[in-house]
């Protein structure tokens, strides 16, 4: 898949983008290796069973990294310079879950070429991760 190539002029407040992503146990293992976060809450079935969650959780930052795909590939895509991202982790996500990653443009500055995008990762229609992305649309 190639990144979309939206210009600032083509983007309006209220524009949105979304994609679906299934999270696998392999994703969790790969993220643990990549990030160095091998906390047993994410990597040990036996340990996770002793917690209120009952099974290993997907890393919050693995989910958060999907917002990088959202802005880098979809909205605005190729011209994106990612300046910032807030994150709130609201509900647990587990291996085998499919999540919907979405964003909606809430502000657009012509002078600075900066957009703010409300970003959400939803599981079964409920927000699991929310945040605000700040991106610049390169000329």
């Amino acid at each position: 898949m190639e990144a979309r190539d939206l210009t600032l002029e083509q983007i309006q407040i209220g524009d949105s983008a979304q994609f679906e992503r299934a999270i696998t146990a392999e994703d969790i293992a790969a993220f643990a290796t990549l990030s160095g976060d091998a906390n047993p809450l994410h990597t040990s079935e036996a340990y996770a069973q002793t917690t209120p969650f009952g099974r290993p959780l997907v890393h919050g930052m693995l989910l958060g990294s999907l917002f990088s795909s959202l802005v880098g590939m979809y909205l605005p895509g190729k011209r994106c310079l990612y300046l910032g991202q807030t994150l709130q982790f609201k509900k647990p996500v587990f291996a085998g879950d499919t999540v919907m990653v979405s964003g909606i443009v809430t502000t657009k500055s012509e002078s600075t070429r900066i957009l703010t995008i409300e970003t959400t990762i939803a599981k079964n229609g409920e927000a699991a991760v929310t945040g605000i992305a700040t991106v610049q649309v390169l000329a």
């Binding site: 300046l83 502000t107 500055s109 002078s111 600075t112 070429r113 900066i114």
Partner: protein
Amino acid sequence: MKTFNELVVEVLKIPEADIHDDLSSTDVPDWDSMNYLVFISRLEENFNISFTMDEVLQAKNVGDLRKLVEARAKK
């Protein structure tokens, strides 16, 4: 809506007591080129105004930006 100084504190990380109109990028560690643009976009969003690119580039300190906001707010 936040005040101008509240946004200075929040984005440029300057204690409110230290804010004065002569503050510029040379005085403020968090006033880098990208954060400056984020600050401008937060001002636009907060006060529901728009600056021109020339205004953004010509503003040299906190006082210049405060005057721009006040001028827009009067329109």
